[in-house]
Amino acid sequence: MSLLKQLKKQQQFCIKCLATIFIITAFIAWSFIHLGLNPFNIFSSDTSSNIIAYVGRFFSPDLSMPFLMKIGNGIFETLSISALATLLAAIISLGLALPNAGRFGPYAKSLTRFICNFLRSVPELVWATIMVLAVGLGPFAGTLALTLHTAGVLGRLFGETLENHSPLANRALIHSGSGKIAAFLYGTFPGIYPQLLSYTLYRWEMNIRMATILGFVGAGGLGQILFYELSLLREPKASTVIIAMLALVVVVDTISNKLRVAQLHSMG
């Protein structure tokens, strides 16, 4: 009897899963039809010769010294945009974390939660476009854009860390007569500090990646050089920039992987 039931259940599950697969397939098919895209026909003969000619122009990257210096400068600009933005965002988020964790009552909590969600859900590129209007073209606009977005993300993460942290040490200090601020600094902060640091570093990694492309809307860094060179149809130079971007991403990826493994090992 129970076997029969089980079999029936299995059968039912399969009908459901077949239906899901059917719906997904239909959705995919609809997407291609709606866009007028034939996946087998994207690379028709006339476009493919076009593509090959276009790609060919990328295979002679411009390695002249002055241009390499410019790219080196762009890399440093990208790094400093991301570092500065992450630092500023971390400082702002520390301020947001306290109300966000409900330390100043429920109203302050829902207000900061709303602010964080708002800052977080506007994409960096949109912030960058707005900031370019506010402070003009250049890396400062990129820094501000990344700061705003990251403050939203970190504000929420910091707040959650604070909420999940055990309040025992803090309470013990308050009960034995210490002030609120001292209790926070000595009771709570040392406990959450490593977590905050690791969130900040993780966001920095993402911001480096983001800072390379913010330049597309004129917010400085490597992206701005790439956009400029591509607009002038100078593919060799553009290809050098793309290689630099790729190298930057790979280096950052490797370092953060190594750090993560090291951290895992140190934690046992």
């Binding site: 459901k16 997407s31 291609f32 994207i42 400093s80 707005i130 209007l133 402070v135 400085g220 971007m245």
Partner: protein
């Protein structure tokens, strides 16, 4: 570093700048709700959905073979004392390199390049997402295949079955759920990404937003932003629903 980033906070309070940004932000309220414009936004939203779906579908087609090639758990050369596996090592290495290039270059850069080949419009967006996401998906597929229970597939390989049979009978049954759920999660990310690629002219909501931004039309921008949030929220819930359905 402060100098390199041209850190000049006083620019924020420059009168002319304040006037420009102020005028722009004031227009955000009320959001533009002309019927004609709303229809355009609806069309762009559907286009964004279609771009993300088509892009991820193409990405899966590329990512599955790449993931299978890269994954260690399907490697015959790793099982026994082999004599000469230089060839297969070379293939694996080049597949890894290809994956790195696909994944390492951000999707918006791909979109910018592809717009020059295919012209403005959704084709470039679909391909940009297909390229970047095939790199990401193949990496994660190979990791999932390695982290699962590899004993059945190993047993099959040792007793002489082919790689594909070993994958289908040894690995897929235990990892299918994780693979599917990760793919759907990526689809959700692709929706966000397709808005971003639109900024360089690759179709969808992003392209519309870029146009409105350039015309400093705050009302339109705020409408599009609201629709974007709703879309992300919807995708979030839909992907949760499908993932629950699969378990």
């Amino acid at each position: 570093m402060l100098k390199l980033a041209q850190f000049e906070p006083w620019l924020l309070f420059n009168f002319e700048n304040l006037e420009v940004i102020g005028n722009f932000l004031v227009q955000f309220f009320p959001p533009n709700h002309d019927e004609g414009f709303l229809w355009i936004v609806a069309g762009a939203t559907i286009e964004t959905l279609a771009i993300a779906t088509a892009g991820v579908a193409l990405a899966i087609l590329i990512a599955v073979p790449l993931g299978l090639i890269i994954s260690h758990s399907l490697s015959i050369s790793r099982i026994g004392p082999g004599s000469d596996y230089l060839f297969s090592k070379l293939i694996r290495f080049s597949a890894r390199f290809l994956m790195l290039v696909l994944r390492g270059i951000p999707e918006i850069v791909w979109a910018l390049l592809l717009v020059r080949v295919f012209g403005l419009g959704p084709t470039a967006g679909v391909l940009a997402i297909a390229i970047t996401y095939s790199g990401m998906l193949s990496k994660v597929y190979s990791e999932i295949l390695e982290s699962g229970n590899t004993l059945p597939s190993r047993a099959l390989l040792v007793s002489g079955s082919g790689r594909i049979a070993a994958f289908l009978y040894g690995l897929l049954p235990s990892t299918a759920q994780e693979l599917a759920s990760y793919t759907i999660y990526r689809w959700e990310c692709a929706i966000r990404a397709s808005v971003v690629t639109g900024f360089v002219g690759a179709g969808g909501l992003g392209q519309l937003m870029d146009q409105s931004m350039k015309m400093l039309n705050g009302g339109e921008v705020s409408t599009i932003l609201i629709v974007f949030f709703l879309l992300v929220l919807l995708a979030d819930h839909l992907s949760l629903l499908i993932r629950k359905q699969l378990t």
